[in-house]
């Protein structure tokens, strides 16, 4: 049992990071209907912004973290204005292709400016372990939960209580109706990209803490996709739940399934996709996704 928990908790912590990336994914999808292939690259760029601020410019870490979120918000808006806005009204798959272009642009920018080396954040967390229910857990994992929760609650409150958040929910519901009622849809698409980038940057900082900051962090975008599907493409809460489910199951599969046979050696990698298929067979719109009723 102790062993099970000591495996599950880091798994869930990584799941919280998946959840944040998935949240960023859902934010964009919900508000503009775009499937963002470059989500992982937003995480990558976010982690490097924080690295530049905290190490290269020497800003205290927590301040750098806040600044990172702010700057990524602006970058997100910039990307939307420059690359996505001209595509309004075009076939949705062409817009998806644009995100592939973003994928190339962002990852090559990181490569050009930072090269292929490993970087570390300053140690901003106590290094001793915390005792939770009798087992020692590295502090970085608890920090994952806390920051993920803070960001998620922030996004949730934004959607629940601010005017812009409510407007964004309205365009997710019916864009044309919202626009005719005077909602500035274009601006809100920018806000959605900004928020998504900020949330992803938060995930990037966490990922950089758990792993290390390097040019390859973008692969996390792929790992978050099963989380998005399991939770449902339109549900913010679903993204977090999906992330936790995937992260936890992945870790458990790694310990308890992989040693069973050599065929299952790297099962951890595909296990989320097996879960994804199973969930889709039972619930075609994910656990919390919207089921749109179609009429002829």
């Amino acid at each position: 049992m102790m062993e099970f928990l000591s495996v599950l908790i880091p798994g869930l912590a990584v799941g919280a990071i998946y959840g944040l990336v998935a949240l960023g994914f859902v934010l964009i999808f919900k508000c503009s209907g775009v499937l963002n292939i470059a989500q992982g690259q937003l995480v990558l760029v976010g982690s490097f912004i924080c690295y530049t601020l905290s190490i290269q410019l020497g800003i205290p870490f927590y301040l750098a973290l806040v600044l990172t979120l702010g700057m990524s918000y602006l970058f997100g808006v910039l990307i939307e204005v420059v690359l996505l806005r001209p595509m309004v009204g075009q076939p949705v798959l062409s817009v998806v292709m644009i995100t592939i272009a973003i994928f190339f642009i962002l990852s090559s920018l990181v490569m050009i400016f930072y090269g292929a080396t490993y970087y570390n954040y300053p140690t901003y967390l106590p290094t001793e372990k915390v005792q939770v229910a009798g087992i020692a857990i590295a502090t970085k994992y608890l920090w994952c939960f806390i920051l993920a929760a803070v960001l998620f609650v922030g996004v949730f409150l934004f959607f629940r209580f601010t005017n812009q958040g409510i407007a964004m929910r309205s365009i997710a519901d019916d864009e044309m109706a919202a626009e005719s009622l005077g909602v500035n849809v274009r601006r809100l698409h920018g806000v959605a990209w900004g928020l998504s980038f900020a949330v992803s940057a938060g995930a990037g900082v966490l990922l950089g803490t758990v792993m290390t900051v390097y040019y390859g962090l973008g692969f996390i975008g792929l790992k978050a996709i099963p989380a998005v599907i399991v939770g449902g493409l339109e549900s913010l809460g679903g993204a977090m739940v999906g992330g936790l489910i995937i992260g936890g199951l992945e870790a458990v599969a790694g310990v308890y399934l992989a040693p069973l046979s050599q065929f299952l050696g790297g099962i951890k990698d595909v296990f989320p996709y097996v879960i994804l298929m199973l969930v889709l067979l039972v619930k075609p719109y994910g656990l919390f996704g919207e089921r749109r009723i179609e009429r002829i």
Binding site: V7, P10, R85, G115, G254
Partner: protein, 431 residues
């Protein structure tokens, strides 16, 4: 469907400019290839030029390794061209192609190096490119080097060579040394494998299993992690259950990093570890921090600052200073030594058949006769033969110290010899 918000003319003009610029540059590019780069280079001294192809990664997941490897290749070529006046008076012209760890691009790059650049030799980087290209290289008679993969080393009539032995052998040599000198326990030592779920990992596990059986060690099993890795708590838990005394780890740099950190966090002291050499670059070690201290790795070359000075080491010191390094990384050394080895073979071929008749088969014949060459004193003697394409069968263990440094703990120690069965490509297939 008039779109609002973008100046279409502006975009069209930008696009047109970029297209024109790129077309112009593409058009110029091939004509640049044969031109010797520095105008002051004393071209008349050379009898001619040989093109060497280097397939490498400057982008993609192997980028850190690719940069070091190619830097080593380049420096050795620079040394040969500038200090030695080329290979028997013939200049080496390197053509570097970035393939971003994509097998089909590597195959295309190989075709391009042969057909467009008329390369006489191709240096590879990724392990998967070796089995993909070995057949074509043998057909077209082009000498290859790359990471020491059994698919290349033990193929029939292989054109593939490496100076040093296979990864698994170098770690197993280290393992034998560790059992004799460092192991304090009684009974048979328990050996575990922590590796990447990819070909090097599985062939390593198979080789280790058989080696342990022969030596009377207990092989406890393996913990395999997927290629894309965030953390390895699950793999660490699997390994802890197996209770090993020593762990052999094979992965990419990120895999080693996450493994070490997770292993440290799991609080299991007293287990020795031997890691693959891609842990050794400074930025990787810095990132691993305290978790890497005391861990073994291998560096099967003479080392700047530890060994008695010789030509090779003096040269390396100079090149390392130019690059701002204390110690060249193992991958740089791999590039440096493999280039010297191939150049030596090419020199022998040139002496035998002359520049006009030089072809891949001649280089291959000469290389397979190469005996007693030690890469300017950087390696033990390289002895190649038509049936043995690994230059030497030694390794050298290093221990990682605090502050991202490492020091040698052994001189060159022999790696375990291979049985005839283990000298076939088939042995390493499957699990």
């Amino acid at each position: 469907m008039r779109r609002k918000g973008i100046g279409k003319e502006w975009l069209v003009s930008i696009l047109a400019m970029m297209l024109v610029a790129s077309v112009a540059l593409v058009g110029c590019a091939p004509s640049e290839v044969p031109t010797p780069a520095p105008p002051e280079a004393p071209t008349p001294e050379f009898k001619g030029e040989i093109v060497w192809g280097l397939i490498t990664d400057f982008t993609g997941p192997l980028a850190p390794s690719g940069k070091d490897l190619t830097a080593g290749d380049r420096d050795a070529i620079k040394y040969i061209n500038e200090e030695l006046g080329g290979v028997a008076g013939v200049k080496i012209e390197p053509v570097v192609i970035d393939c971003a760890y994509d097998v089909s691009r590597e195959v295309a790059a190989f075709a391009k190096l042969l057909d467009v650049h008329k390369a006489m030799y191709v240096g590879l980087i990724s392990s998967s490119s070796v089995p993909a290209l070995i057949g074509k290289a043998t057909e077209k008679q082009i000498v290859l080097t790359g990471s020491p993969e059994p698919a290349g080393l033990f193929a029939p009539n292989s054109y593939f060579y490496t100076p040093f032995p296979m990864w698994a052998d170098m770690q197993l040599g280290g393992l034998d040394w560790w059992v004799e000198n460092e192991w304090k326990g009684s009974g048979s030592p328990r050996v575990g494998i922590a590796s990447i779920d990819a070909q090097p990992g599985w062939s390593h596990a198979k080789r280790t299993r058989d080696h342990c059986e022969r030596k009377g060690y207990t092989y406890v099993g393996e913990a395999m992690h997927p290629v894309a890795v965030v953390e390895q708590s699950a793999e660490v838990a699997t390994m802890k259950r197996l209770k090993p005394d020593i762990i052999l780890a094979v992965s990419h740099d990120t895999g080693h990093l996450t493994w070490l950190r997770e292993w440290e966090a799991s609080g299991t002291p007293g287990v020795a570890q031997i890691h693959h050499w891609c842990l050794l670059p400074e930025s990787t070690l810095k990132s691993a921090g305290t978790s890497a201290e005391g861990v073994f790795s291998y560096y099967p070359f003479r080392m700047v600052g530890f060994d008695q000075d010789n030509t090779g080491l003096r040269l390396l010191k100079e090149y390392a200073r130019e690059r701002g390094w204390d110690l060249p990384t193992p991958l740089y050394m791999m590039g440096f030594t493999r280039t010297l080895m191939i150049a030596e073979g090419m020199r022998m071929a040139l002496e035998k058949v002359g520049f006009e008749n030089l072809d891949g088969a001649a280089i291959n014949d000469a290389l397979s006769q190469l005996k007693g060459y030690n890469c300017l004193g950087l390696t033990p003697d390289i002895n190649l033969s038509p049936t043995e394409h690994r230059g030497y069968e030694y390794t050298r263990l290093v221990r990682i110290l605090p502050g991202a440094k490492y020091e040698p703990v052994t001189d060159f120690i022999p790696v375990p010899p291979l049985t005839p069965e283990e000298k076939t490509g088939e042995y390493y297939k499957g699990k």
